[in-house]
Amino acid sequence: MKADELKGHLDGLILAVLASGPNHGYAVIEEIKRRSGGELALPEGTVYPALHRLELAGLLHSEWSAVSGRKRRVYSLTRKGSRELDVSRERWQRFATTIEAVMS
């Protein structure tokens, strides 16, 4: 799937991955790839601005951790982020159902 097609869904994808537990940027990208069977190949650098944006919106919380002597920023979902994820899922379901109805 092309990056353009993912636009608009990236926030929801990140929130969905972080709903499983706190993680860092690289792991979020890898998890999206894994869950999509490699179909969703994100432009990797664009995930970080999205993570920062979601944190600014209060949907994510982040803190430093140390791994092998280097700093790592770990993100976790806030309560507001969980609510937003529910909204994103509902919106996606409605969108997918509508498109499915038209396409089929």
Binding site: Y26, G45, Y48, P49, R73
Partner: protein
């Protein structure tokens, strides 16, 4: 790795990011590259642009909300001070004011205080309304961010001016012999003839608090998003506009209607204490001030497109109307001398 991080850091710096935030971003990207040395992280310019979009949007909304809270608090104090004819502020009431022959400085400070307070209240409410309307937009346009920052800046400057004018008006009223009498004996001050000194302190503190918030607005202006797109008008702020690209008609109608309502309300309230002629005159002055502010500041604050005296647009879409739109409907390429252009390099 260091080459890519260096380019990213330079791009972030050129977009006004502070050293601390750049360090955080660099550490995150370095960690990513340690995990996958072959990772394709993308063009540093585009990545930095996406960071700028996110932070610019968030900062613009936050400064608008912060300006509303600060100005709202200051104006609540102001209203409390002058609710009872200014007795709390040590004026002794309007009757005393009318009976006395105040100096020109006092008259000017009171007039400026009244005007600045109204501009501050209007600009802060409009900043909040625009921030609320855009609350769910992930990245707002450059033009919308500019309007948010301008409204916040105008609200804070006008709010600080109003409070400074309170201080100036009090200087005219304060009994300076009281200071000589009590000196640094702070505990004796509340037993004095009035709380003028305290009001003076509160007014200066409120003015300083608002002025202290201005650097944050400038900081937000330097890091605004670089997204093309339109900008709503007054009608959109009030959820009455048809579309962002609409004409000035709805916004102008709202402003004129508001002026009429203000004139009638001021006249009605004024008639309780004075005659129809006097109250009506004050109502007309209030309405005229509102319209002057609307047409004078409307283009700057994103209430309407351009100014009434702008030349009409030529059929080919060129001309001053387009230039006037340039204050709102521009891409991110133009520089804004008042609040900093998006393309300019900003030092930490």
């Amino acid at each position: 790795m260091s080459g890519y991080l260096g380019r990213l850091d330079a791009e972030l710096q050129s977009r006004g990011f502070s050293g601390g935030l750049r360090g955080r971003i660099a550490a995150e990207f370095a960690d990513h590259m340690e995990c996958d040395p072959m990772a394709d992280l993308g063009d540093p310019e585009l990545i930095a642009g996406e960071f700028a979009d996110g932070y610019g949007t968030s900062l613009a909304r936050r400064t608008a909300c912060r300006a509303f809270l600060l100005v709202g608090g200051a104006m609540a104090l102001l209203i409390a001070m002058f609710f009872d004819g200014g007795r709390l502020a040590g004026w002794g009431g309007y009757e005393v004011y009318r009976a006395s022959s105040p100096s020109l400085i006092f008259r000017a400070s009171v007039a400026l205080m009244a005007l600045a307070a109204q501009i501050a209240i209007a600009a802060s409410l409009l900043a909040l309304a625009r921030a609320w309307r855009l609350r769910r937009v992930p990245v707002i346009s450059t033009a919308e961010a500019r309007v948010l920052n301008r409204r916040a800046a105008v609200a804070l400057i006008a709010g600080a001016t109003a409070m400074l004018m309170v201080a100036v008006s009090l200087v005219w009223q304060i009994d300076w012999s009281y200071f000589r009498k009590w000196g640094m004996n702070w505990f004796g001050w509340p037993y004095g003839p009035s709380g003028q000194w305290y009001v003076l302190g509160v007014a200066l503190a409120a003015a300083l608090a608002q002025l202290a918030a201005l650097p944050a607005v400038l900081y937000a202006a330097r890091r605004r998003p670089l997204l093309d797109g339109g900008c709503g008008l007054l009608a959109d702020d009030l959820a009455l506009g048809a579309a962002v690209s609409g004409s000035n008609r709805s916004s102008d109608l709202i402003a004129v209607s508001s002026a009429v309502v203000l004139a009638l309300a001021t006249t009605a309230v004024g008639m309780v204490n004075s005659g129809l002629a006097r109250a009506g005159g004050r109502g007309l002055v209030e309405a005229a001030a509102l319209l002057v502010c609307y047409f004078g500041l409307g283009g700057y604050l994103g209430l309407r497109r351009g100014y009434p005296w702008s030349r009409p647009a030529r059929p080919d879409g060129q001309g001053s109307d387009v230039e006037a739109l340039g204050t709102l409907n521009t891409d991110g390429a133009d520089a804004d001398p008042e609040l900093g252009g998006p393309g300019e390099a900003v030092a930490d």
